[in-house]
Amino acid sequence: MVTDTFAEGIETEITVMELNLWYGAKQALKDISVDIPKNSITAFIGPSGCGKSTFLRCFNRMNDLIKSCRVEGDVLVGEDNIYESNVDVVELRKRVGMVFQKPNPFPMSIYENIAYGPRIHGEKNKEKLNSIVEETLKAAALWDEVSDQLDSPALDLSGGQQQRLCIARTLAVKPEIILLDEPCSALDPISTSKIEDLLMELKKDYTIVIVTHNMQQAARVSDYTAYFLLGELTEFGETRQIFEMPREKSTEDYITGRFG
């Protein structure tokens, strides 16, 4: 694997050391080590089945839900090794939020969707909840479109609006990191560009990791890019370098569309 050393003064948010992952007997991730920088957007790219989504799900331990899945190695979020046995996965997932491929708002009102997380985590104050809803909807660039219909069903929104609602819902729990698993693959180009603009805005306050199949998207929004192939991290570096001067032949082949 080839890794660029970052410029001086770049803080690391997630540190992965020699991570291996198996589904039953099949190894899905092989010996991955990488540092993901804070307050930046890191894109995971690579052909289908290369393990990029699986890797993303290591950061909030969503892989725990799959019985046959086994992980070895260390993942540090901030200072904490999240694969230690005493780690509270529920607490971890408050720190590391996730937005999924298919928009999945709850069958409740727009307001209730956002208030859901804070409420379960103990926020009862109505005014506080109101302000969380307003703030997060504004942060997700959805407020102007829905401010007068907060009580209407979230599922009446368009796909792109639903996905931004899901981002707002994630923000409402106040995470440090936001993981996005192909968040635009079910959306039209206009909705996609809205989400991309939003991510550029959000990286000021959050560390963002995005899995994408869309090469242009990776080039447009990300600061760093990781290219995966067959469960291995083939190349990682600044996005410009990866796209302009990839060091590995297979990275170049993939980026230029020769396979994938």
Binding site: L65, K102, P105, P107, I120, T170
Partner: protein, 284 residues
């Protein structure tokens, strides 16, 4: 053979016929029982006990008995069944043990009700010493409907999209909170349907209660769950087959059947209300 258009028409005709037959049967039964039974219904019929060796008077004790059975068996079967379904659908990991549990539930569902009656007699009436009583009969009926409730609840929970569970868990919400706040509210209408089916079953079952506590005739109402009781289906059976004057009590028999029907329909109505309420709450 036929052209696609003709076979389409023939298929549609058969489907329509099937539905027509089903609907016709339902309405015939309801109409037949209502028209024959309505004459017997009166305030006295609903509030008095049987008189003159059960050839006159009302069916109040049997109504009370059936209502007690519904309450008693549901109080046991609903929590047990729903909790079991939550475990099976939300917590258990696929494997040999779960497979054995599922098989056991399927077999329980296929067991003839008279076998449940015999089990209840041996287990609750004799071994546990509850005697022939509301308690023993309610527990037996709870077993009869348990598989219905578990199946319906499981199916209802299985319709909740997995993405919603993931979304909730990813917000740092525990599994149990996710079950309570997302899965159960969405699954509730389906679970209520299962519960209702089982109320109808409890109200109508005869064999299990016959062996565990239903009385041919009681001069007074039960006052404790350890008492014997009268119940509508058994009362109907007695009047129709071994009463003192079967022909003369025909109107009472139909009246009893009508009351039984109305109780079940009444519960159905409540279920529809509950379902509507929750559909409104969870907005699709």
């Amino acid at each position: 053979m036929f052209s696609p258009k003709t076979s389409e028409r023939i298929a549609f005709a058969f489907l329509t016929l099937a539905i027509a037959i089903v609907v016709a049967f339902v309405f015939t039964i309801i109409f037949y029982i209502t028209s024959n039974g309505i004459g017997a219904i009166s305030t006295d019929f609903l509030t008095q006990g049987p008189k003159n060796r059960m050839t006159e008077g009302g069916i109040f004790p049997a109504i009370v008995g059936t209502v007690f059975l519904i309450i008693g068996s549901m109080a046991v079967a609903l929590p047990l069944g729903i909790l079991a379904a939550i475990y099976l659908n939300e917590y258990a990991e696929e494997g040999r043990i779960v497979w054995i549990i599922q098989m056991a539930i399927n077999n329980l569902a296929g067991t003839p009700s008279v076998v449940f009656g015999l089990f209840g007699l041996a287990m609750f009436v004799k071994y546990m010493g509850f005697g022939a009583s509301i308690l023993a009969a309610s527990l037996t009926l709870a077993l009869v409907v348990l598989p219905v409730i578990i199946r319906a609840s499981e199916e209802a929970m299985a319709t909740v999209p997995p993405g919603l569970r993931e979304a909730s868990l990813a917000l740092g919400v525990t599994r149990w909170q996710t079950v309570r706040k997302i899965v159960l509210p969405i699954a509730l209408p389906g679970m209520v349907t299962g519960a209702i089916l089982s109320v109808g079953r409890v109200a109508g079952e005869t064999a299990p209660i016959l062996l565990t506590g239903a009385a041919y005739f009681l001069p007074r109402l039960p006052t404790a769950i350890s008492d014997q009781f009268m119940a509508l289906p058994y009362h109907l059976f007695v009047l129709a087959t071994s009463g003192t004057n079967i022909a003369a009590t025909r109107p009472i028999q139909y009246g009893t059947a009508l009351v039984l029907l109305l109780i079940v329909l009444g519960v159905n109505f409540v279920a529809v209300m509950i379902r509507r309420h929750y559909k409104k709450k969870m907005r699709w």
